[in-house]
């Protein structure tokens, strides 16, 4: 069995058009996997055993809160003022009542955390994702997302931009280990589910990003609802709206995606 898996991992040419750099990506992937097995995962497990759950939740909330301002700005650029207002409110409530973001009060009040970054904003405006990339240490990405992350998101990252270097580094390490600890279950499931961890991770990542760009309603799904956000929870059966027909069958390119940026309301709330 082990031999079979090794043989499987060795075969690098499956020819997925979205992954022209597969041989290099696979090499980086196995490097990351090794680093994770020897260093990151054990650290995350130790962290989870030592640090009590409320403190870990506090850390998660604290770092998530710092992101909310940047998320609100991305909402705005994507033409979603309502979402931007929600996320700004999240930041305000959690920073004040939530004691510098340690408590996620806003979620309790029904303002759910959103997921936005500059890569998604570009995607919304019609920029394709480009080839799939596996970045050293950081893992799955695409050309668009990697450039966005490196040149734009990082500039708005309070931790990376923090001036005091020892403090910055400690925060960065804490954030990374906390993040890995939050993913322990998910990574165990991938181990169980995947025949080939590389392709499984890649295909899941690409679908997930596409889903995020369209806030839970990627255009391929012709049943996806695109009505006003207030309507999403309405328990009535109804015919697809005019907006649906605009998107059904249109590939992720140019104008339709830009249009989507302006017309699809925030869904993942």
């Amino acid at each position: 069995m082990v031999v079979a898996m090794l043989a499987l991992a060795g075969c690098a040419t499956s020819g997925n058009p979205r992954d022209p750099l597969e041989p290099i990506n696979r090499a980086v992937f196995s490097f990351n996997d090794g680093f994770d097995n020897i260093i990151a995962k054990p650290l995350a497990e130790g962290y989870r055993n030592v640090v009590p759950s409320f403190a870990r939740t506090g850390a998660t909330n604290f770092f998530a809160n710092l992101e909310d301002l940047w998320i609100a700005i991305n909402d705005l650029i994507q033409g979603k003022p309502r979402a931007a207002l929600d996320d700004w409110t999240r930041f305000f409530l959690n920073t004040t009542l939530g004691v510098f973001g340690l408590f996620d009060i806003a979620s309790d009040l029904g303002l759910e955390k959103r997921n936005e970054d500059f890569g998604q904003t570009l995607g919304r405006w019609g920029v394709g994702s480009g080839p799939y990339l596996v970045l050293p240490f950081l893992g799955s990405s695409t050309l668009r997302d990697a450039l966005s992350r490196g040149f734009v998101d990082s500039k708005a990252d309070f931790v990376i931009q923090h001036r005091d270097v020892p403090e910055r580094n400690s925060l960065f390490v804490l954030r990374t280990i906390n993040l890995r600890a939050n993913l322990l279950e998910a990574s165990r499931i991938v181990e169980e589910a995947a025949l080939d961890k590389y392709t499984f991770t890649r295909d899941a990542y690409l679908q997930h990003r596409q889903n995020l760009v369209y806030d839970g309603n990627p255009p391929k799904d012709d049943r996806a609802s695109s009505d006003a956000p207030e309507d999403r929870d309405a328990p009535v059966a109804e015919a697809p709206s005019a907006v649906d027909s605009v998107f059904s069958g249109i590939p992720e390119t140019g104008l339709p995606a830009a249009l989507a940026g302006m017309t699809i309301p925030p869904q993942q709330r």
């Binding site: 069995m1 079979a4 499987l8 075969c11 499956s14 997925n16 870990r56 939740t57 998660t60 909330n61 998530a64 996620d104 979620s107 759910e112 955390k113 997921n115 939050n182 279950e185 165990r188 499931i189 169980e192 589910a193 995947a194 025949l195 080939d196 392709t199 499984f200 295909d203 899941a204 679908q207 997930h208 596409q210 889903n211 995020l212 839970g216 990627p218 799904d221 049943r223 609802s225 999403r232 929870d233 309405a234 328990p235 009535v236 059966a237 109804e238 015919a239 993942q268």
Partner: protein, 202 residues
């Protein structure tokens, strides 16, 4: 009083769940499964036999594994002999059940909300959407693609955070088949299941 029991019997009859709308069906199953998991300390500590029993009795009857396998194997399905199709379905089912079970054992205090269905009354394929919320974590969406069959609504794909089970396995299966044929895929699936069997024995 007699009528009361008659009514009770009617509601307890196994025919009823099939008449349910797909979102009500998903909601019922979710509630049932979660209430068992919440009470069962052994399931929470990862007793895989107990979990498998629960999944077998409550969840599996509502999945169409044949269709799932067929979709994942895609164009190669027609090239498979009936025997190969049977083996593929069986092994894929085992793999999915094991993955589902281990996800279930990690359930703690998440809030699961099944969204009201948005579909026309005569639709034979629908997507039931749900959200899983947990304190200190972003919510995760789980969407169930379901089809109407003669024996009620059946799930044929699950999307977690927009990641479709079928789409993901399609690529994995296609790679395997390209390299070592349908028998190679069956061998890989069987091997992976055997490997895990030491830990999960149903």
């Amino acid at each position: 009083m007699k009528y009361f029991f008659a009514l009770l019997l009617l509601f307890a009859s196994p025919v009823l769940p099939q008449e349910l709308s797909p979102d009500a069906l998903v909601r019922n199953i979710t509630q049932e499964v979660i209430s068992v998991v919440k009470q069962d300390k052994e399931i929470q500590s990862g007793n895989s036999r107990r979990i498998a029993e629960l999944v077998d009795s409550k969840v599996l009857p509502h999945f169409n594994f044949m269709r799932m396998t067929q979709l994942a194997v895609a164009v190669n399905w027609r090239k498979a002999t009936p025997e190969q199709q049977k083996l593929l379905t069986q092994e894929f089912r085992t793999l999915l059940v094991r993955t589902y079970s281990s996800a279930l054992s990690m359930y703690r205090d998440q809030l699961i909300e099944i969204k009201p269905l948005r579909a026309r009354a005569d639709d034979t394929e629908v997507t039931v959407r749900s959200e899983v919320k947990q304190r200190g974590a972003q919510l995760v969406t789980i969407d169930y693609d379901m089809e109407k069959t003669t024996s009620g609504w059946k799930v044929f794909d699950v999307k977690v955070g927009g990641v479709s089970l079928i789409t993901t396995y399609k690529e994995e299966f296609a790679n395997q088949i390209r390299e070592s044929g349908l028998d190679g895929l069956i061998k890989t699936l069987t091997g992976k299941n055997r490997q895990a069997e030491g830990r999960v024995r149903t």
